[in-house]
Structures are given as C-alpha cells and as structure tokens.
C-alpha cells in the first residue's frame, strides 16, 4: 500500500515536471521578444535592454535557463514580473489566490452538487419529459460562453434590477471598520453572480456524464438484487447505484478541472473579481510573460494534484482498484 502510494506520488511529480518543461518549450518556441511589450512608444536604449536581459537571465544558454526555470517551479519561485517592475510573481499570485480559491471551490461544489443531482434525476426518469427538458437546459447552459453569460447576468440582475452588485469583491464604499457580519454578507453578495455564471456554464457537462454513468449503474444486476432484498428506494438509488457510477465521474474530474480554471479567467475578468484569472487577463494585455507562465504553472500543479486526489478517492470507493495486499 505504502509502495503503491509512493509510486503514485513519484509519477505525479514526474508529470508535473513534464508539464513545466512543456510550458518552457512553448515559451521559447514562441516568436517575439518577451521585452517587446515593455515600451510600445519609445524603443529602449541598448544598455537598458542589455541590463533587462541580464536581469531576466535571457542572456544565459537555453539549457541553463531551463534548469533554473524547472528548479524554480519545483521550489515555488516563479521569477519576477516584467510589467509590474520586478515584483516577484509568487507575491502577485499569493495576493490573488484567496479570491480565486473562494470563487473556484464554491463554483466547483455548486457545479458538482447540481450536476450530480440533475444527472441522477434524469437517469431515474430516462425518456420522460423531465429528462428531456433538463437535457436541453444543461446542453444550452454548456453551450453558452461564460463571458457573455456574465455580461448578460450583469445587465439583467445587477444593472436593470439592482439585485446584485455589478463587480468586485467588496463594495468600494464599505466602511473598513464595519463588523465581520457586514463584511461577510457583503462578500457573499458579491460572490453570487460570479459563482452562478461559472456554475451555469459548467454543471451541464457533469449532468450529462452523471446521467450516462447512472443509467449504466441502474442496469447492473446488483440493482436487481437490491430490489429483491427489499431495500428502501433511497438506499438503492444512492448507496447501490450511485456509488457504482462514481468511478467514471472521478475519471473525468481531472479533465474538467482545467475547463473550470479557464472559465474562471473569463468570469473573473467580467466581474473584475480580484483573482488569478483577472491577473492572467491583465498580463495578456501587458504581455507580462513571467506572470502568465506563473499562473499556468500553478494551475497545472492544481490540476495534477486534483487528478491524484480523484485517483485516490476512486481507489477508496472502488475496492477492485485497491492494490492487493
């Protein structure tokens, strides 16, 4: 068991190193000067360019740069920002991480909660009107671009009806000395629209896969046995059928995580949510390469970690996958 776990961890680390390598290669293959975005109007003097090149170690051989980069990525040192005058990328990310974690975990929980509920409901009524209506709804939600949905929701719910704030994480005029309760409700109030947007565009995929996995699980002989045993419907549905549908869902978790991350880039920038997505979007505008790379590396680490977690969870839920003693 320990050996299996160690092997799995080593494999995860290797995948991460490989992903970082891929990112490095892509960055080097890209045409264009990383320093070009720095001054659009006036060309930099030659000495200044040289200084900057040395500062960002662009004067070193490629392999040395790669080794530095890889070591940095494993240590958690992601270099310094070009646009933000040499601030460490790690510091920039740390500033923005809490906002993204709050938005991301809330949206993930909502997306899986709603997606699983809808998929299971559809599977138990396969072919019915409910099934079809829910299927059309989740497909349409899936087909909606997150940034457009964000704009439309802002227009309708924030601007026209004033139900929710238009943007940001806190009301700009909020008294900084306000009690924790006021600050918390203000935060939750600002969270509603971004979470709703991200959840709406992502729950459809979960629901569709859950429906298919659940239909397959409901056809198992074990479900027939559970019925002949006289178990309660709730137990048959969740304890017997759903648990058998979790495997395929967990296998897909790793593929969905990057999609949710990408979706949050758009949603955050639409709502000016001060997280990593907005940071990435800003960095595209200023061609701030180290920051884009930093965010990409962090996101890959999260995805790879999520995959590992899903794997372990799958092994825990399905005894057939456990390493034999």
């Amino acid at each position: 068991m320990i050996r299996w776990l160690a092997g799995r961890l080593l494999q995860t680390l290797a995948t991460y190193a490989l992903a970082v390598t891929l990112l490095f290669i892509m960055m080097r293959l890209t045409p264009g000067d990383p320093l070009a975005g720095l001054s659009d109007e006036r060309p930099l003097p030659a000495e200044a360019r040289e200084l900057l090149r040395r500062r960002y170690r662009l004067d070193q051989p490629v392999l040395t740069q790669y080794a530095d980069f890889l070591a940095g990525a494993l240590r958690g040192d992601l270099g310094v920002s070009i646009a933000q005058h040499g601030r460490p990328v790690t510091a920039l990310i740390r500033e923005r991480l809490p906002a993204t974690l709050l938005l991301g975990t809330t949206a993930l929980a909502a997306m899986f909660g709603i997606g699983i509920a809808v998929g299971v409901l559809q599977a138990t009524r396969a072919g019915s009107v409910t099934d079809r209506v829910l299927g059309i709804l989740s497909l349409t939600a899936y087909a909606t671009p997150s940034f457009w949905l964000g704009l439309v929701l802002t227009w309708a719910l924030a601007i026209e009806w004033h139900w929710f704030p238009v943007a940001f994480m806190h009301a700009p005029l909020l008294d900084p000395d306000a009690g924790w309760w006021v600050r918390l409700t203000d935060l939750l109030w600002h969270l509603v629209l971004p979470v709703t947007t991200l959840t709406l565009v992502s729950f459809g995929a979960v629901a569709r896969y859950q429906r298919a996995a659940m239909l397959e699980a409901l056809g198992l002989g074990a479900i027939r046995t559970a019925r002949t045993k006289g178990l309660r419907d709730r137990s048959i549905l969740w304890h017997h059928a759903w648990r058998n549908s979790v495997g395929p869902m967990l296998a897909l978790f790793g593929l969905w995580l990057p999609l949710v991350v990408a979706g949050s880039v758009f949603v955050e920038s639409v709502y000016a949510w001060p997280g990593l997505g907005t940071l990435a979007a800003e960095s595209i505008g200023s061609r701030d390469y180290p920051v884009i790379m930093g965010v990409a590396i962090l996101v890959s680490a999260v995805v790879i970690g999520g995959n590992l977690l899903a794997d372990l969870l799958h092994g825990w839920l399905d005894p057939r996958l456990r390493p034999s003693q």
Binding site: L22, L139, A143, P145, W148, I292, A296, V303
Partner: protein, 279 residues
C-alpha cells in the same frame, strides 16, 4: 457501419435532425449570406451616430460604428466555423496518428507518448494558447487554426489509443496478425476503419468546444483582429453598450449558443448507438 448508415441514424433521431438542420442553415447563411447583406465593415450613418435599434434596414440594428450587426454576425460565422472545423480537423488527425502509434506499437513508445499526453492535459488549453499567441501583434487566421488544432489532440489520442488496444485484443485483428499481415495493412485495413466511429463523435463534440474557445480568445483580444468581425470579438467590442444597445452583443452570443448546441446535438445522436461498428 457505412457513412450512409450514420447519416440515416442521425436523421432518424429528432435531436440529430434539429442539429443537422441548424448547422446546415448556419453554414449556408455564412457561405452566401454576406452577398445579400450590407458590407460588415461599412459605416453608412457614421454622421448620425451608431447603436440604432433593429429596423427594416438593419434587421439586428447597428453597432457603435454604425455597422450592420446582422452582416457582422453572418460574416463572423465564417471565421468561427472555419476556425472550428479547420482546427478540429488538424487536432483529430494529430490525435488519431499519435493514438494509433501508441496503441499499436506499444512498449516504450506508448509509455512515452502517454506520459506526455498526461502532462499536456494538465495545462488548460487556454493557457497553452495564451503563451503561444500572447506575444504576437497580429495573428493570421491560419496560425490561429494551427495553434488551436495543435493544442487539442491530447484527449483524442487517449481515446484512439484505448480503442486500438481494445480492438487489438479482438479475434479479427489477432487472426490477421497470425496470418502474417503487415503492420501497415493491419493499421489501414483493420484498426483505422473501426476507430473512425468513436472518432466521429469526438470530432463533433470538439467542434463545439473550439467555437467556444475561439470566441473566448477573441474576447481576450487574441483571436481574429478587428475590424474583421468574429462572434467573441463582437461581444468584447460591444460589452459597454449592453445596457443601451443590447442587440449588439446579444446577437453574437446567441449565435455561439446555437452553433454549439447544434454540433452537440449531432454528436450526442451519433453517440447514442452503442453498437460497435465492426468490419
């Protein structure tokens, strides 16, 4: 199953039929529509100001630069559909080749390719594209297609590899091998035709994803460059006018939703038949 059988199956399912009709209408409109509509770049009423609500001359109104929104949505369809189909064709070809190689050759080639795919799948495709195109001033259409295509084959190669390995264990391939058929012949005659089924489903679903991805890139200012119309670009250009002139961004947004729904309906209808298409 023959191509003919697929098409019939698609047409017999209501969802598939709706999807096909939507997609055909969209493609035809994109192909011949611009001939009957105003120039999407013309600014006829610049003096009087833009943002005119829909009327008989401008069926979907005009944007801030007084350009006809309908003409821009229809012309934008050309970009979206061209990018989507071009990029998916490229990624399916790449993914198919890698998957066949990994699944059929096996051993270290398989292991190396699949580790690479694992790593690549961990990086969100959006970020791969950001890194590739962020440093460019102008992105030509062909490069956009190549970039999106080159970052979309990882999942496909996994799918094809799994299918090839499943098929290899089956009797008809083993007997061909036992009879001394060459690798090339087994790949071309036995594996490729059978992999086409799952590949077709993956292709249609991927088209929808790429339409969304291209729109997102344009929204971030990294897609087709203005003034050439694209759906994502139009939403970005007009986001400040959502309150005063909602038609300017509602129209391109709905176009995206309809296009993606259409290809997904087609993909799902093809997918529903679990019968393995064995030769």
């Amino acid at each position: 199953m023959t191509t003919d059988g697929w098409l019939r199956q698609l047409w017999l399912r209501p969802a598939g039929r709706v999807g096909v009709i939507l997609l055909v209408v969209m493609s035809l409109t994109a192909a011949i529509g611009p001939a009957f509509l105003p120039d999407p770049l013309a600014q006829p009423d610049l003096a009087q100001g833009g943002l005119r609500p829909p009327d008989q001359i401008h069926l979907l109104g005009t944007d801030y630069h007084s350009r006809d929104v309908m003409a821009r949505v229809v012309t934008g369809a050309r970009v979206s559909l061209a990018v989507a189909f071009g990029a998916v064709l490229l990624s399916i070809t790449l993914g198919g080749m890698v998957g066949l190689a990994a699944g059929y050759l096996g051993s270290w080639i398989d292991a190396a390719l699949m580790r690479l795919v694992d790593a690549a799948l961990a990086i969100p495709r959006l970020f791969l594209l950001l890194i590739m195109v962020a440093s460019m001033e102008r992105i030509p259409l062909w490069l956009l297609i190549v970039a999106i295509g080159a970052t979309g084959w990882f999942g496909t190669s996994r799918l094809v590899r799994a299918e090839v390995r499943r098929l290899r264990a089956m009797d008809f391939v083993r007997s061909a091998e036992a009879l001394g058929a060459t690798r090339r012949r087994i790949l071309a005659r036995h594996l490729l035709p059978n992999v086409l089924g799952p590949l077709t489903v993956a292709t249609t679903l991927a088209v929808g994803d790429v339409i969304l991805l291209e729109a997102g890139l344009s929204f971030l200012g990294l897609g087709v460059q203005p003034p050439t119309p694209s759906w994502g670009g139009m939403i970005m250009e007009n986001k400040s006018f959502l309150v005063t002139a909602p038609w300017t961004s509602l129209a391109p947004g709905l176009a995206i939703v309809i296009a993606v729904v259409a290809v997904n309906l087609i993909g799902e209808s093809l997918h529903q038949d679990p019968a393995p298409p064995l030769s």
